[in-house]
Structures are given as structure tokens and as C-alpha cells.
């Protein structure tokens, strides 16, 4: 049998983590499923459990001049309804799960779960999301892309907790998210795609592309993006094949019970092509 601790404050949670190893559970919409057992039986947790979903101080959405801050405990439904949250992030949230799940699930949970098919990750990578991570004695910041290290692998120490997401305010001419799921609602992505750009005087000032579920982690390459930033819109479009060729080796999807690698790769490239072709001059 495992123990459970329902933390009421951040400090209580950090103290507990400092004492022993816990399985952290926020909304539980991944954890309950992954540790399910037969109906009528206890959840099959393998470790003691620290429930953090009642820590109110981690439930907030705030902004300052530079950033948007989303608390680790903020529910997806709250994010969906907040005017402070950029549209592209709300667009991804509305495509996640179903209303019931969204009322309990969190973004920190989607990050902590680190599934290649985690929808919010694609947009959070695109927006250069950073995480604030706390232990009893230390607060650190880490870029999301450095935090997720593999399939269900994150760089979190046993005594640490994600406390907030820090999302820099950026100005893009346009950006969007495209989920390719097997049906229109309540479904796991076959792949997903997010992109954005900004143009000034017909010159590409910023270009961002992220792919989900086509590799062990979200695929975003600043190196490739950098090659094309600074080009004119016309040149960029003329170089479409180069762009595709640059991304092609990074997209390495798998076959599974939901789709196959040929489809995932093809559609990823199609979405990239569609994005580039639709970039507007100004």
C-alpha cells in the first residue's frame, strides 16, 4: 500500500518532497489512467502520492511587460477562458480532451507527462516557454525544450516541483496550431503542428515551426529557422524545397495503433508547405 499526502500549500508540498520521494499528481488525468487497475480497486500507484491540486497559490494567470505566467495548478478550462492567454495557446487547449477533463487537467501535467503526443507542448515550444522549478531551498528556471529529455523523461529532481510556466510575450504577424487527430474531439493526436512568423517590409523577422508526435520530443530547430530569417517573403517561398529538405531529416515518426510513419511524415510536410505558401507580404 502506498501513502497519499494532500498538500494545502506550496511549502507543505516542498517540505514533503524534501523528505521523501513522491509521485506528484495534479489533475490526475494522466496519472489515474496510467495507474488504473480493476474497477472497484484502488488506483495502482507504485509510489507514495503527493496531491498538489488543492494548492491555490499555484492557480493563477498573470502578466507583466515581458511575460505571461501560468501557475502549475491552473486548469485548462481556466486558461481557455482567460483573455490574458494568447489565442494560439487557447486554440490548443480547446482541442485537448473534453470539457470534463479540462476542468481538472493542467499544463504542468501535460509537460510532466512528456508524451510525444502532448498537444500543448508543441505550442509551448513555439512560444519559447520557460518553467519555474522550485525545491525547498532553490528556485531555478529552465527552458521547456531543455526540460523534456525524451519520451516520458523530464529533468526534474526528486525534491522539485514545477511551479509556473513563463511565456514570453512576442509579436507575431500570424501564428496557428493544427491538431491532426483521428476525429474532431476527445482524441489523441496522430501528429500536430504549430507555426508563426513576423514580417516587416517584406522581410521575415521571425519564423517558428514546431511538430508534435513525429519524434520522441517536439521538433523545433532554431538552426533551420535561423537560416531563413532575414530572407524576403518571396525568396522564402522560392526556397520552399530547401525548407522542406531542412526539416525532412528531423521528422522521424513511428508506426503505431493510431497511424503510420508515412502518413505522419507526409502530413507534417504538407502542413509545413501550407504554412510557408500562405505567408503574407505585410
Amino acid at each position: 500500500m502506498v501513502d497519499g499526502l494532500i498538500a494545502k500549500s506550496l511549502n507543505e508540498a516542498l517540505e514533503a518532497l524534501d523528505n521523501k520521494e513522491y509521485q506528484i499528481v495534479a489533475g490526475g488525468t494522466d496519472m489515474l489512467i496510467q495507474n488504473r487497475s480493476h474497477s472497484g480497486m484502488n488506483i495502482d500507484y507504485k509510489k507514495d502520492v503527493l496531491y498538489i491540486n488543492l494548492i491555490d497559490e499555484l492557480d493563477f494567470i498573470k502578466v507583466d511587460e515581458k511575460n505571461l505566467y501560468i501557475g502549475a495548478n491552473t486548469r485548462l478550462e481556466t486558461i481557455l477562458e482567460s483573455k490574458l492567454v494568447p489565442q494560439i495557446l487557447r486554440d490548443v487547449v480547446i482541442e485537448m480532451a473534453s470539457p470534463g477533463i479540462r476542468h481538472t487537467a493542467t499544463l504542468a501535467g501535460n509537460i510532466g507527462n512528456a508524451s510525444p503526443a502532448g498537444d500543448s507542448l508543441v505550442v509551448l515550444y513555439l512560444l519559447d516557454c520557460e518553467l519555474e522549478i522550485k525545491s525547498l531551498t532553490k528556485t531555478r528556471k529552465v527552458l521547456l525544450k531543455d526540460f523534456i529529455t525524451g519520451v516520458r523523461k523530464i529533468a526534474l529532481n526528486k525534491n522539485e516541483l514545477i511551479t509556473k510556466l513563463i511565456i514570453p510575450k512576442i509579436n507575431l504577424t500570424d501564428c496557428y496550431f493544427h491538431k491532426v487527430g483521428p476525429r474532431l474531439s476527445d482524441a489523441i493526436s496522430k501528429l500536430s503542428f504549430a507555426c508563426g512568423y513576423s514580417v516587416e517590409n517584406s522581410i521575415i523577422k521571425d519564423l517558428r515551426v514546431a511538430f508534435g508526435a513525429v519524434y520522441v520530443t517536439v521538433v523545433r530547430s532554431r538552426e533551420v529557422e535561423g537560416k531563413f530569417i532575414g530572407q524576403s517573403v518571396n525568396d522564402l517561398k522560392a526556397n520552399l524545397d530547401d525548407i522542406i529538405n531542412a526539416y525532412e531529416p528531423l521528422i522521424k515518426p513511428i508506426d503505431d495503433q493510431r497511424s503510420n510513419r508515412v502518413y505522419r511524415k507526409n502530413v507534417a510536410i504538407n502542413l509545413l508547405r501550407e504554412f510557408i505558401e500562405n505567408i503574407k507580404e505585410d
Partner: protein, 696 residues
Amino acid sequence: MKDISKSINKVDNEEKISGSAEYIADIKMDGMLYAMTLRSSIVKGEIIKISYPKIPDNYYVIDHKDVQGKNIVKIIYDDMPIFTTKKISYLHEPIALVIGPEKEKIVEILDSIEIKYKEEEPQFEWEDSVVDFHFDKGEGERVFDHADKVISYDYETGYQEQAYIETQGFIGYQDGDKTTLIGSIQCPYYVKNALIQALDSEPENVRVIQSTVGGAFGGKEEFPSLIGCQLAVAVKKIKKPIQLIYEREEDMLVTTKRHPAKIHFDAAIKENKIKGIKAHVGIDGGATIGLSGVVLSRAMLACSGAYTIDNLDITGDVYKTNTVPNGAFRGFGAPQMMFAIEMFVEHIAKDLNIDPLEFRKSILAKQNDHTSTNGVYRDPILMPEMIEKAMKESDYLRKKKAYANPNIFKGIGMSFFFHGCGFTGSGEKKIIKARVRLRKHKNNKAEILIAAVDMGQGVKTTFRKLVANILEIDIENVIFNNPDTDYVPDSGPTVASRTMMIVGGLVARAAKEMKQRWREDEFVVEKQYKQPDYIKYDEENFIGDAYPAYSWGVNVVEVEVSKTTYQVKLVKTWSVYDGGKAIDEKVVLGQADGGLAQGVGYGYLEVMNHKQGKIQQKNMTDYIIPTAKDMPDMETYLYDNPYAFGPYGAKGVGELTLVGGAPAVAKAIENAINKRIYKIPVTPEYIMELINNAKN
């Protein structure tokens, strides 16, 4: 008299919406134990040895050695053991039940059981034919001798999972010599008869009661007999109440599914007309035969679709493979064939450069035409006006023309189809012999005593309404409790779109007699099925009237296909059905919406496959059925075309509404992408392949 079609509130609405309806999992009994199933971890071979841990007090292992009667589940074809003796022929085949008061402990016991196997090479190819049928109509194959040319194509359909909300389950208890099961089932008497054989009990010592059923779709036709037998064997031995309920994954991995099918067609063409069709229908039976032969015959009988073809040569095989046994599913073989024949006729027209719609209309079946087995379509067929209606409401011709433009990726498709109502062949007369009873109580209430199950489809509403209407009393004065074999006669299984037409027909006859005698205090009227005299069927040779009546339908589906992601979006559907007289319009419309969603889902969404005998989509996350968001606005029109022997003229509607969905959506996608479609489901992956590689 008021029109019986006018809808009333479904009688089970309140208990289901409020949550007070009692499903199997809601029933708790004193001292109740739980059962879980020990299953094989190999696909094919033999058990050499099973090593059990020490089994604690009040825990039990029940296996084939405990079966007092015959270790075979009584289904139509007796080849499924209740528990395997040692031979394993599919993955997760049941070996034993482990039973006890604590689920945690049962799991622990299951985990520590060691089984040594001798493995054998499994068979997944469709080579081992265990049932084969053949019939001819007209000149049969000889018509090919004088054909101008032959057009041939192959079509394929996949698995489909019933995906009922409530998984399989029973509770059983023993009272003296009597074994009682309460279950989520479609066919109380199938279970009862199976138990009598398994327990070697007298009929009066076996009782089966239906609990509220949370969906079935055919999945609770024969499968419950298997687990019912397992549980009953345990209950009779242990003499304590025991609950056996499947978890979702277990249910999806081991219960029967729709048979995957491969259908080959040759058409003899002369002067641009179809002179004859030769077909071979192969279906994958899985590891046991069960109902597969009957499924195959329904598929074969549907081989000319809604059309009349004078010369036929039809063969079919059920193949045995080392995969989960397949079984009953709404439509029962017809959905596979209806997809194939609808595509084939369309493809023939395209090959002949004839407008497919005109071509199809020119060969539609008409009243007095001969069916595929030389029976007769005796009743009027309204297809021409139904098609007209569907086309007008959907603006079919204009859209079809506009969408021919290959750059707009929109499509519209229309399917024509029929469904034979009731059991195939002489099943009703020879096997089922349905009996119904109606009891007049002293307090002027009438009680319906039949074995028909309300699994959500509305039987409780329509039957009470039927009887109330005939007796001219309030529906509140008509009693219809869940069937309990101690009280109701065997009116047959709740399958094959037979319930209203056959059982309802009998109940109506009983009610008419009761009406005559209404002044009497208390009495019972009993009626038994009598086949209309003109219906003659030769089972062996497939000659004659395979069904007493036919329901007809037209589905139109409009879609958009994404050029970027190849995903299909349903835009709207229009359906026209002739299911005879609707006993309650809303109930029929419920069947229409649900049936079409399930039929269209089968056509474009629902992927299920196995890998080395293991089902890959084992939960509702991976097995994709349409949600309310995926289904568009569905318009439905009902045509009233009464059948003389159905109550008020009702025929079958439960399956009819499913069988046309797949060909309609497949044709719509074909229209949108300008590529021929040969298999369902038409997934984005398949569409991509077609767009990138296939010729038009």
C-alpha cells in the same frame, strides 16, 4: 383512432437520465464474490502444465474439470469450449475463473499462476475454410460464356467493435438446486439453453434474468452464453453469489467483433449491361465458428444489393484463424456485402462510361422481381420515390456535378440498400418457434410476457404502446418487466431486426384476442409464430424466400476532404427509410441516427486490426468511434409501406439504418478525391495512398 407513429416519451428516459437505472455493476449481494478470468498468453498450442499458488480459504479456481454438463457453449455451431481443456487457439483464450472476496487478492493469484505451454505456429492467413456455401440463380456461371467482357474487382472490410457503453457482465447465485444469472444480455433463452447443457441441470433449475442493458449491438447475442456458462458452473459449485464483469480492455480484446471480409466479384457484361455476377465472399471467423456460417449466408444473400441481377453464382467461405472469435453485430454480414456491391456496381458503370446513377436506377429491384435466391419481393418497393426524395433534399445532382471538379475536394455519395427482416431462411419456423404471452390482471392491467430485451433501442416503449393502442387503455396500464425466464416464454432472441415485426406481430395478435375478452377477470393469451404459408425456403440449396419481408433505404452523405491532412469531414447526411410502419417515430429516428453514425463510422473512422493475433486497439482511446462533434446534421425521412404481417405494418429498422452508411460515405470520398475506393474504413492514411499513388 390516433396515429400510432406519433411519439411518446421513451419510458426509460427518466431512470436512465437520473441514473437510477440498475445495471449489473449496481447490483450488490450479501457475501458476493468476484470472478476474474485466467487467460492464455500464447496464440496457439497446448497447455502442458498449470502451477497454481496455494489458494487461500474462500478463494476458488474453476476450470473445465468443474463443468458438470458438456464443456461446450451451446451456440448455433457447437465448437467453443466453456473453458479450454488444454488446446489454445487464440490469444487470451479463457482457461479458468479465479474467484474470491477481494479483487486485489484475485489479481495476486492470477499473477502468480504459471503456465507451461507447447507453442505451435499460428494461422492468420485465410486458408482453412470451415464453412463453405454455394448457390446459383438463373444460368449461374454459364452466363459468362456469352459475355462481351468481364469486369472484376476485390473489396475489403475490416473489423468493427460494438463499443457498447456497458461492458459484458453477469451476477449469479444459487438457491437450492436452482442456478440464477442476472445479465447484460440480448437473448435470455440463448443463455438459459446454454446453461442447461453446461450444468446438466433440469430447465426448471436454471433461471436467467435480464438487467438493464447499456447497449449491445449484437455483441450481447452469443458472447454472454460463454461467460454465463463459466459463471454458472462456478456458482453451482461454490453456492455463493458471484459477479463477473469485464473491464473495458478485456472486453475489447476478447469479445466477438464484426467479421472482416474479402469479396471478389466478376460481372458478365453484354451490351453494356450486367448479365450476371459471380462472387466469392470470404470472412474471418476467428478461432471458433459460432455464428459465422449464418453471418456468411446473410452476406451472400445480400449479394445483389438493392438491385435485381438475373444470373448469379455465389460462393463463400468462413476461414478459421487463430484470432479472437468473431460474431454477431448489427447488420450481421450485410454491411460487408452492401459496401462491396454498392462500390462494384458504381465501378462497373464508370468502367462502361455510363452515368452510375442512371445505371443503378435501371437495375433497381421491383415488386415481384426475384431475390438472389429466387424468392419473390412480394410487397411494393418504393425505392424510386425514396431516391427522388433523397436527391431533392440533398440537392444531389447539382452537388455531384460541382464536386466533379478535382480541385475542390468535396464529395457527395448515395447508397441504395435493403435489409432482410427477421431470421434468415426457415430460422423462425424451425429453430426459434417464438411464443408470446399476454396476461390480463384483475386490476385491468395487461402484462407483456416476452423475452425481448430493451437494450436502449426502445422495445419497452414501443411494445407497451402497441398493446395500449390495441386494448385502448393507457400505457401506464401495460406492464413490461425485464424478461425473466421463470415468467416469460421463449419469444426468441432480440436480434435480426425481428423484434417488432415478428414478436410485435404476435403480441398484437394476442392483444386483439385480449381485447375481445377484456371483460373477463384474469386470463392469459398465448400466441405462437406461424410462418406465412407462401414463404418457402430450401436451406440447403439457398432457394426461395430467405426473408418474409424487406426494409429499404437510401443514404446520402456529403463530405469535405482536406488536401493537407486527408481527413474527412462529414458535412451533412440525408436518409430515407422504408421500415414499414413506425410504431413510434422518435424511436425509429433514434435508430436512424445511431445506426447511421455506426454505419458511417464503419466506413471512414473505425480502425481495428490485429498483429499476430493481438487486437491493437484495446480501449476507447485507440478505437475511434464518431463523437457528436463528428456527426453532422442528419436529416431523415420515413416512408410508410406497411407489411401485412407486421403489427400495424411494421418491418425491421434496427439494422437497416446501419447497412448503407459505409458505401454512402465511401462514395462521397470517392467523389471528393476522384480515386476509386476498394476498402473500408477509408482512413486518412488510405486516402493519402490513393491520392499519391492510385490511378483515377
